[in-house]
């Protein structure tokens, strides 16, 4: 057997591809589900927190900043293990899928809050003054004038951060979420071949390469506002 055949035999065995592709495809569905849910809840919660922070309520903001800092400082895997193994002991039983969704949403929310908040701070004071001078209330000004502009300025950094956190869905394998990596490693141990791992890797590439390239495009497209 020459090198090329060995390579194919190790990473691309046709019979195993045939056998395991439904499992991997199932993993793709789960990964996409978690990713979409995390992006939706994480960004929405982050925006909500940034808006709450704008009201400068001392006690509330202290709690908020501590939450954000902790979520930014801790490795997501630590939080996943803590929630998955810790919560049942205080009577909260969450399925592993929910733990993964919850943890990644909180982490994304923390990063998104910081990015949105920086965006809100970067809007010139004149915008607030002009809006308030026409009789718009603080909340109306925030909602209709400040946040829409702030969101536009945050598109690029937010996209990159969102991609990075979405990739953490792979951490779900540690607590048995049946996403791509979990399916791939399970199949690998049953088949005793690296082929399923390669399949999983390819699935990730197919899933994320377009997003990474889209992120690159968005970065150049929206760069003008950062200057």
């Amino acid at each position: 057997m020459n090198r090329w055949d060995l390579f194919i035999e190790t990473f691309f065995r046709p019979d195993l591809i045939e056998k395991y592709w439904p499992d991997i495809a199932g993993g793709v569905v789960v990964t996409v589900q978690v990713a979409v849910l995390v992006v939706l809840t994480g960004i929405a919660l982050g925006l909500l927190l940034a808006m709450i922070r704008s009201y400068s309520l001392r006690g509330v903001n202290l709690v908020l900043v501590v939450f954000v800092d902790v979520m930014r400082s801790l490795p997501p895997l630590v939080l996943i293990l803590l929630f998955y193994f810790g919560l049942p002991s205080v009577g909260i039983l969450l399925p592993s899928f929910a733990v993964l969704w919850l943890v990644l949403s909180l982490v994304l929310a923390a990063f998104a809050e910081e990015i949105f908040w920086a965006g809100i701070l970067s809007i010139r004071k004149g915008q607030w003054e002009a809006a308030r001078s026409t009789g718009l209330s603080f909340s109306q000004t925030l909602t209709f004038v400040i946040v829409p502009q702030a969101v536009r300025m945050t598109v690029a950094p937010l996209t990159n951060r969102t991609i990075a956190i979405t990739k953490n869905t792979a951490l779900g394998t540690v607590i048995g979420v049946s996403e791509i990596l979990n399916q791939a490693t399970t199949a690998q141990s049953f088949s005793g071949s690296a082929t399923p791992l390669m399949m999983g890797g390819i699935a990730y590439i197919v899933l994320f390469i377009p997003i990474v390239i889209a992120g690159r495009w968005i970065e150049t497209r929206f760069a003008w506002r950062r200057a």
Binding site: G126, E129, A130
Partner: protein, 247 residues
């Protein structure tokens, strides 16, 4: 003094930023339909005074009354009061993410609760007044400075304010664009709008103002008709300032 025709009255207005006292007890009143020009060296507190009139700046002391309502009174609905006090800024401050038309309709809809179609109708009328009806769907970034400032004026006037405050409305404009903005301000005065203008456009002051107020160092030093102030100022500091600017 006839109280019923004084639309804006400020009494004993003081404002400090930390140690620095920027307004040192301003008494000012404005009659219905009057155009008052506020002049003075930079740093004399002109803009701060203007911004105290709608509480964008919180006065440290004193009162501001608009049409009989004290803005400082507890429980006053400051948002509905501000709607009645139009303000035009040096930097225009149009909302860059909204079209010209939506810049005007935002407060109409959210503060005055007008319907979308009513608000759009008003916006159209206002844009016609400032000569920009064809720009309704443009975005602020696509307009010249002069055009942006005219939209800003339209945005304020659309709310049917009782007073209009102009904070150096032409200072950020290229010289060739100033005329179109002054033209709109002239038109407003002729329609009977009550206006306070902080500006360095002395030619316009002479021609359009009913009264000139000279401020220096946080105080009103002197006020009078354009002729009195420019030709025959009684105070030394006024004389020096007028001599300086007419050189």
């Amino acid at each position: 003094m006839n109280q019923t025709t004084d639309i804006l009255v400020a009494r004993g207005l003081r404002k400090s930023f930390g140690e620095l006292e920027v307004l040192k007890g301003i008494d000012f009143s404005l009659r219905q339909g009057e155009l008052v020009f506020v002049i003075g060296p930079s740093g004399s507190g002109k803009s701060t005074m203007l911004r105290c009139f709608n509480r964008l700046e919180e006065p440290t002391e004193g009162s501001v009354t608009i049409d009989g309502v004290n803005l400082m009174a507890p429980g006053v609905d400051i948002n509905s009061m501000r709607r009645q006090i139009g303000m035009v800024f040096q930097q225009f401050n149009l909302y860059p993410h909204l079209s010209v038309s939506r810049n005007i309709t935002l407060a109409l809809r959210k503060v005055l609760k007008r319907s979308a179609s009513q608000a759009e109708e008003t916006a159209r009328e206002m844009l016609e007044m400032v000569g920009l009806e064809e720009k309704a769907d443009a975005y602020p970034g696509e307009l010249s400075g002069g055009q942006q400032q005219r939209v800003a004026i339209a945005r304020a006037v659309a709310l049917e304010p009782k007073v209009m405050l102009f904070d150096e409305p032409t200072s950020a404009l290229d010289p060739e664009l100033v005329g179109s903005v002054l033209q709109v301000m002239r038109k407003l005065r002729d329609s009977g709008m009550t206006m306070v203008v902080v500006s360095h456009e002395m030619r316009f002051a002479r021609e359009a103002a009913g009264r000139i107020v000279f401020m220096s160092d946080g105080e009103i030093i002197e006020e009078g008709t354009p002729d009195q102030i420019f030709e025959n100022p009684s105070h030394r500091r006024t004389r020096e300032f007028v001599a300086e600017i007419s050189r």
